[in-house]
C-alpha cells in the first residue's frame, strides 16, 4: 500500500491530492532555506548545554536498577520534545496565518482539492521538516556517544510518529483560535508538556497519583518510547506508547479535517 492508501484508510475522504499541497509548501519555502538550516542546529545547542553544564551538576541517574550519565538519560527525551516542538510550530503558526489572512486555502478549494486533502497535506508537510530535524538529532546523538543500543534505529520512526501526532493536534487546535494572542495558549501547553512529561527525570520521582496524571501526556509516551529505544530497555509497555500516539494521530487528524471542512465550506 502506498502513502496515499495509508492516509485514505486513516482519514476518510482524503485523496492522493494532499501531495500537491505538500509540493506547494515545498515550493514556497525553497527560498527560506536559511531558517530551515538553523532549525537543524537546535539539537546540538540542546545537547551541548546539557552535556557541558547541567549534567555536571546532576551527576548520574538511576532507572530500574541501571545507572546512566545524565546527558544519556535526557537526550532521547530531547529528541521526542524537538519532534513535538517542530511539529506544533509548523502546524500552528504557519497554518494560522494561511487560515486567517492569506486566501491561499480559498483558491485551493476552487480546484479538485478538498479541505480534507489540505489538512492532510499540511500535517504531512509539517512532518517532513520534523523528520529532517529528528534525523540530524539522532545522528548527533550517535556521534556524541549517547546511543546505547541498535534499537535506536527505531527511534527515528518513533520521532516521526510523535511529529505526526502533534502536527495533527496542532492543526486541529489552530482551527478554533481567533487571534495571535490565542497562539500563546499553544505555547503554554507546549511548555507544560515539555516540563512535566518525565522528560528531565524518571517518572518514578513523582508520587503515585501524579504518575497517573503524567501518563496522560502524549509527550510522556513519546519520550518514554524514544528513551527505551535509545537505551535498549524495550518492553511491552512501549506498545502502549505507540498505541497512544497512533490513536492521537487518527483522532486529531480527523478532527482537523472536519474543522477545515466547516471553515472552508461555508
Amino acid at each position: 500500500m502506498n502513502a496515499s492508501g495509508v492516509v485514505a484508510a486513516l482519514i476518510p475522504g482524503s485523496s492522493h491530492r494532499w501531495a500537491h499541497v505538500v509540493a506547494r509548501n515545498y515550493a514556497s519555502t525553497r527560498s527560506a532555506w536559511f531558517a530551515t538550516v538553523t532549525g537543524a542546529f537546535e539539537p546540538f545547542l540542546f545537547l551541548a548545554s546539557i552535556g557541558i553544564g547541567v549534567s555536571v551538576l546532576v551527576g548520574d541517574v538511576d532507572v530500574d536498577g541501571r545507572t546512566y550519565d545524565y546527558t544519556t538519560f535526557v537526550a532521547p527525551a530531547m529528541l521526542a520534545s524537538a519532534a513535538m516542538n517542530g511539529a506544533i510550530t509548523e502546524a500552528s503558526f504557519n497554518t494560522f496565518g494561511k487560515l486567517r489572512w492569506h486566501r491561499i486555502y480559498h483558491s485551493m478549494t476552487a480546484t479538485p482539492l478538498t479541505p480534507t486533502d489540505i489538512a492532510v497535506g499540511e500535517i504531512v508537510y509539517a512532518q517532513l521538516r520534523g523528520t529532517l530535524y529528528s534525523t540530524i538529532f539522532l545522528l548527533a546523538m550517535v556521534v556524541l556517544g549517547l546511543v546505547e543500543s541498535w534499537w535506536a534505529v527505531l527511534a527515528l520512526p518513533a520521532a516521526v510518529l510523535i511529529g505526526v501526532a502533534f502536527s495533527a493536534a496542532g492543526l486541529a487546535v489552530v482551527t478554533v483560535l481567533r487571534t495571535w494572542q490565542d497562539i500563546d495558549l499553544i505555547v503554554f501547553g507546549q511548555m507544560l508538556l515539555f516540563l512535566f512529561s518525565a522528560t528531565f527525570y524518571p517518572l518514578s520521582v513523582y508520587p503515585e497519583p501524579i504518575q497517573m496524571v503524567a501518563q496522560l501526556s502524549p509527550l510522556f509516551h513519546g519520550a518514554n518510547l524514544c528513551r527505551d529505544l535509545v537505551l535498549g530497555t524495550v518492553g511491552w509497555y512501549n506498545l502502549i506508547n505507540v498505541a497512544v500516539l497512533l490513536g492521537m494521530t487518527v483522532v486529531c487528524s480527523r478532527l482537523a479535517a472536519r474543522r477545515f471542512t466547516s471553515l472552508l465550506y461555508k
Binding site: 491530492r17 500537491h20 514556497s28 486566501r103 480559498h106 480546484t111 482539492l113 478538498t114
Partner: protein, 315 residues
C-alpha cells in the same frame, strides 16, 4: 463525445442558502446554457456571491436543487471543480510564489502533467499579457495584472465553465477594459461564463442574459436589451436642479402631465421615448435645471424600476 459537456452547465430550482436566520439566497430558479455569458446583477449583499459559491461547490446549499454539468455539488464536488475555472472576488494569489509558479502549482492541483502545465502556462501568460512578468513575484504587480493572473490561473485546466465574481471591481478604467477584452475573447472561443457584477456597463458589455438579484431573490431575467425594453423607455432625461429646489414638488408638476418620473437625492429622472420632447416639456412647466442630460436607458434604470433604489443606494 463528452455527454456531460453537452448538458446544461448549471441548473437551479428553489435554490436557497441561509446563514442563521438570514436568507442570503432565497428560492431562486435559473438555468445557464452552454456557450452563453450569464450574469448576476445586483448590489452588494444581493446573494450573488453566495450563489456563485454554491455553484463552485464550496458552499453547501440549504434547500432546493442545484446541478452543475448534471452533477450534484455536494456529492461530486471534486469532479465538478476539475471542470471549473474560478476567478474569486479577491485575487487570492499565492504571494509566496512567483507568477509562473502560481500557474504551475495551481495546475498541479488539477493533476495536470508537468509538461502540459508548462505548455499552457506560456499560452496563458501570452493571452493575459503577462509574459514579461513571468518570473516576478506577485506582490508588486498592479491590480490589473493580479486580476489577469487570477484569470490565467483559472484557465489552466481549460475549464468548461468559468465563474467570475466581480471581475473588474477595484480596477482603474484602463485595466477594466483590458480584462473585458480578454473575457470577450474567451466568450468568442465558446467558453461558458457566469459572472456577478454590480456594474451596469459590465453586464451590458459581457452578458448575453442576466438575472437581476435583490435581497436574495431574482426580480427579473432576460437579455440586457430585453430588460431595458421591458422596464424602461428608450431614453432618460437627467435634470440637475439648484440645491434649493423642492425636487418632489417639481416632480409632481411633471407627473401631473403624465410623465414617468423618478426622484433621486440629487436629481430628477424623466423616462421618455423622446428625450428632447420631454426636456422641452419640462421647460414648459417652468423647470430651470442647472444641467440636463439626455441618455440611452441602461440596466441601472432597470434596477431602479425593479427595486425603487439605485444600485449605489442599495449597495
Amino acid at each position: 463525445m463528452d455527454d456531460a459537456g453537452l448538458s446544461v452547465p448549471v441548473a437551479a430550482r428553489g435554490l436557497t442558502k441561509t446563514f442563521g436566520s438570514f436568507r442570503a439566497v432565497d428560492d431562486v430558479d435559473f438555468q445557464v446554457q452552454p456557450g452563453e455569458a450569464f450574469g448576476f446583477l445586483g448590489p452588494n449583499g444581493a446573494g450573488k456571491s453566495s450563489t456563485m459559491r454554491m455553484i463552485g461547490c464550496v458552499s453547501p446549499r440549504t434547500a432546493g436543487d442545484l446541478t452543475v454539468f448534471g452533477l450534484d455539488p455536494t456529492r461530486d464536488g471534486s469532479t465538478i471543480r476539475a471542470r471549473l475555472g474560478v476567478v474569486p472576488q479577491e485575487d487570492a494569489l499565492d504571494v509566496e510564489l512567483n507568477v509562473r509558479e502560481n500557474l504551475y502549482v495551481y495546475g498541479r492541483f488539477f493533476d495536470l502533467k508537468r509538461s502540459e502545465i508548462r505548455r499552457r502556462t506560456e499560452e496563458l501568460l501570452e493571452f493575459t499579457q503577462l509574459t514579461e512578468r513571468a518570473d516576478d513575484r506577485v506582490e508588486p504587480l498592479s491590480g490589473g495584472m493580479k486580476r489577469r493572473l487570477t484569470i490565467a490561473r483559472a484557465l489552466i485546466n481549460q475549464p468548461d465553465l468559468v465563474l467570475l465574481d466581480e471581475p473588474t471591481t477595484g480596477l482603474d478604467p484602463q485595466a477594466r477594459h483590458l480584462v473585458w477584452d480578454r473575457l470577450y475573447r474567451l466568450k468568442q472561443q465558446g467558453a461558458t461564463l457566469i459572472l456577478t457584477t454590480h456594474y451596469m456597463d459590465e453586464a451590458e458589455q459581457l452578458c448575453d442574459r442576466l438575472v437581476v438579484m435583490d435581497n436574495g431573490r431574482i426580480v427579473d431575467d432576460g437579455s440586457p436589451r430585453a430588460l431595458i425594453d421591458r422596464h424602461c423607455t428608450k431614453e432618460v432625461v437627467e435634470l440637475r436642479l439648484a440645491a434649493t429646489t423642492d425636487l418632489e414638488r417639481s416632480a409632481g408638476h411633471l407627473r401631473r402631465d403624465g410623465l414617468e418620473v423618478e426622484v433621486l437625492p440629487d436629481r430628477i429622472l424623466i423616462y421618455a421615448d423622446d428625450g428632447e420632447a420631454a426636456l422641452s416639456f419640462a421647460d414648459g412647466v417652468g423647470l430651470r435645471p442647472e444641467s440636463a442630460l439626455i441618455r440611452r436607458s441602461t440596466l441601472e434604470d432597470v434596477f431602479l424600476a425593479l427595486t425603487g433604489r439605485t444600485l449605489v443606494e442599495a449597495g
